[in-house]
Symmetry: C2
Subunit: 332 residues, 2 copies
Amino acid sequence: MTRIQLSPADATTLAQDAFTAAGMPAALAASAARALVAAECDGLPSHGLARVPFYAAQMRTGKVVPDAAPRLERDGAVLRVDAGFGLAFAAIDAGASAARDVARELGVAVVCITHSHHFGVAGQAVEPFAREGLVALALSNSPAAMAPWGGNRALYGTNPIAFACPREGAAPLLIDLSLSHVARGKVMLAQKAGEPIPEGWALDAEGRPTTDADAAMAGTMVPAGGAKGAALALMVELLTAGLGGAQFAWQASSLFDDKGPPPDLAHMLLVLDPARFAPGFAERAEAMFAAIEAQDGARLPGVRRFADRATRADTIEIPQALHDTLRSLATT
Amino acid sequence: MTRIQLSPADATTLAQDAFTAAGMPAALAASAARALVAAECDGLPSHGLARVPFYAAQMRTGKVVPDAAPRLERDGAVLRVDAGFGLAFAAIDAGASAARDVARELGVAVVCITHSHHFGVAGQAVEPFAREGLVALALSNSPAAMAPWGGNRALYGTNPIAFACPREGAAPLLIDLSLSHVARGKVMLAQKAGEPIPEGWALDAEGRPTTDADAAMAGTMVPAGGAKGAALALMVELLTAGLGGAQFAWQASSLFDDKGPPPDLAHMLLVLDPARFAPGFAERAEAMFAAIEAQDGARLPGVRRFADRATRADTIEIPQALHDTLRSLATT
């Protein structure tokens, strides 16, 4: 597969132009383009520019409302953000900006973002807080992929959890995981290659373990930690779509076609100001991080992502075919 | 093993008397006794009356400060509770009582309980909120049991996560899990019985998978979901001991002997008022619960615990030897 190199800035312009050509106002398009290019820079192309054609197509059919401006309401320490069935990124930005102030004022802020779309890279939603000295947790639901434990029909998304903790003089501690044992994309790749999948990845449509990729795609993903991951995924559904008034995973439409109603997903951010807790948080956290790094074979969560990012500061690489598609969309 | 039946009320009096005989004021002793008996009623004897002899012994050596009255400070939406190196239960009660009001006022409350002891049954800390219409999440650290992923020395506890969601006309949805794949008690039982353990439960002191129970007890527990459970356990350490100024798992002393300094563990409660989020939360949650219950083989988290509890409303059963010990402690 031929690949093409371009700068993150050029990639951002290209994606932004593709979105504006589909009817999105420039500021919203810039926010979305930045987030998708940031995923490319972090070595997460599944959450990157490959999404642009789907989103542009969805804007043209109204599955994504291209000019939805996020509406923010504050109520105590709660920030409600209505994404208005647009993409998630501007809504996350709006909620995050307000959450900083509320967390500084009251010690904690909870942001509930509803009527939204794909969360993007969950870590992106928490990392900026940690860079300003705040601790942040992010949760999102996503379209149906996992069954309740013991069941066979998908009711929960793979529902990411991200967490960021500030460090002095170093990149934040960054945890970013989804609640399935492995990403569904791995099963898709095996299916395309006509290969079996390892045991423990997926269940068939009857809820039985399977190593057949076709059966797995017709079935459900195994939750991380079995019943425990399924329970946490349910918790995330309730804290996001439940509180937000959005669609649960099993009610949400696909992120990858332009048919049907908006996906209507929801996200939650929890932001804490460590200055409002016991003194010495930074020193204690560093003691923990040093204890982790002292062990051969162990590393701090997030370290690999930041290393990947450093190698892509000037240049990212995308498939030629995707580049052609983006150029075509940008000039439509 | 001979077992003896007694009423929850009599068991509570017995435990309370054992604690007061060790120097604990009556109100604190009552709070601790109630929590331990509630664990027995829920079919969780590992968190029940078997703890009383350890705690009484620790009060006598000062590892538990018997008359530590929790000190509570409010700062915005944050409640800091200093358990003063006493048992956890009165501190949890004090934090929970204040958190209700703060969550009603500001939509969210965060309780940080520090200088504490064993959290007890994590679900107990969240269930009362759900019975009053609030959503609650609880986290605690615990003594070292799990290594960072890829490492071999235990830095994290098995760190419970509990979550409760209100239901109209039914017991709450209750999630209560620890972040190890299985409880360490299962390895201890196998060790006592001289039996091997299944693969995937534990690692030896070099971080290698083992089925030898002795090697497992000298090593670490496998996190639920592998690297993901380890990352979540780290997150819990930072949110509890990190923010609270308590000891991380690897710094905390044993809960099961009367030697050394206090364990100095920490807990966090997050309480949300669904009335401050989108209208219709209860109806949406019920739609999710109905979808779960419609699947053969699936059930709502918490259902089994409440069923167990119903069978023990009038009578619990404890080993004769434990009963003898409690009676002896109560009359010392």
